[in-house]
């Protein structure tokens, strides 16, 4: 067994896992963070997307031991107790999610995109979501919501620093 310590959603978390445990399994089984989903387990669907040290990754394609000492952000860390993240707010308002299973991964990909590129073009948004398969929505209302969040930053420059 390997001891893995990482910062998850701002908190230090430690778990003892078998060496072959993926980050996704550790998050779901050990830390009870079931927001990240297992849809294919081989990196095709993106439902397991989380951020590690600020970059979006497929948590099913990373061993937990590889994330040792790193900073992990999952869907559970996107909102504060007081406030939804603007992406969550706009996804809700625009009806961007239907069955919702791909949602946590899509939101993390969108968050990673906006962190790097606060004002993305539509093709850039499509490129950023290409690793997240969705069968319900045709991606249309997700893209609209991400554009709306970007637009929000124009209207409220202060929002830039938080998303």
């Amino acid at each position: 067994m390997a001891e893995v310590t990482m910062t998850v959603n701002g908190e230090r978390r430690t778990a003892h896992v078998a060496p072959e445990t993926t980050l996704l399994r550790m998050l779901r089984d050990e830390l009870q963070l079931t927001g990240s989903k297992l849809g294919c387990d081989v990196g095709d669907c993106g439902a397991c997307t989380v951020m590690v040290d600020g970059k979006s990754v497929n948590s099913c394609l990373m061993l937990a031991v590889q994330a040792d000492g790193r900073e992990v952000l999952t869907i559970e860390g996107l909102a504060t107790k007081e406030q939804l993240h603007p992406l969550q707010q706009l996804f809700e308002e625009k009806g961007s999610l239907q069955c919702g299973f791909c949602g946590p991964g899509v939101l993390m990909s969108a968050k990673a995109l906006l962190d790097e590129n606060p004002d993305p073009t539509e093709p850039e948004i499509r490129d950023a979501l290409a690793g997240n398969l969705c069968r319900c929505t045709g991606y249309t209302k997700m893209i609209e919501a991400i554009q709306a969040v970007a637009q929000l930053r124009h209207e409220r420059p202060a929002a830039k620093s938080v998303a």
């Binding site: 072959e20 990754v57 061993l63 031991v65």
Partner: protein, 298 residues
Amino acid sequence: MRAFEVFSAKDSQHAVALLAQHAATSKVKVLAGGTDLLADLKFAPSSHAPAVVVDISRVDDFRGIRKTKEGLSIGSLVTHTEIMNSPIIRDLFPALVDAAHTIGAVQTRNLGTLGGNLVTAVPSVDSGPTLVALDAVVTILGSGGKRHMPLAEFFVGPRKTALKSDELLAEIIIPTENLGKPTHFLKFGLRKGQALALVNVASSIWVDWEKTTFKAARVALGAVAPKVIHATSAESFLEGRPITREAMEEAGKLAAGDARPISDMRASAEYRKDLIAVLTRRTLEGAYALAQAKRTEK
């Protein structure tokens, strides 16, 4: 996944030592970005499962993109995202940026490494053709020390490289004489996002501007032979030939002749040959357009 032990290497020497230590007695796999390895291991039968995984993802001396006296050195652990964001690569080899961009999606590009991609040595390896077209050389590190070889020879066959069981791919070098060589890469997949290549082609050319002829033209083909290959008849045809659409068209046909594709569930061999002809011409057009643009810049 089936149980295995993980040994994490601190640096390249440690990585080689771990490999040498475990390869003798157990089935060992090397973990870099993990995007190919872990996907492979998830549904692997017991006969394919490794007992030991050597994790080299924290080996910092395999990172970094820098100019050296040999040329441009790209560490094997450089991720596809890092290639896309590298100012020096964007400036010298936009084709490498394009090639990296066609790999997987953002998440896999953030994890996946150039070295890891090359070491898979699948015939459709997306990083392969551009580097082969640029006569890239690889540095291999093992218990016996360092050795170099052309990338084209590093690929031995489908999923086979020249690496010995105690060796690692350390870096990829694009030789000095090819720095800034106009290159163009095209991949044709079954869809736009997360596409696997039916074929991929890269062409690099120098232009003799006095005669407007091709010089040192290289055409590399992926997914149409057991490994990435040079389209040698196309290359020799182009040498010294005036740059015309007809010449590029003819080179395309020759390249299609050089290809030895198979038919599989993704496409027939015949279609792959047709694509090679078209894509070769288009990469030559692209490389020439880039050459012209670079010349105007100066």
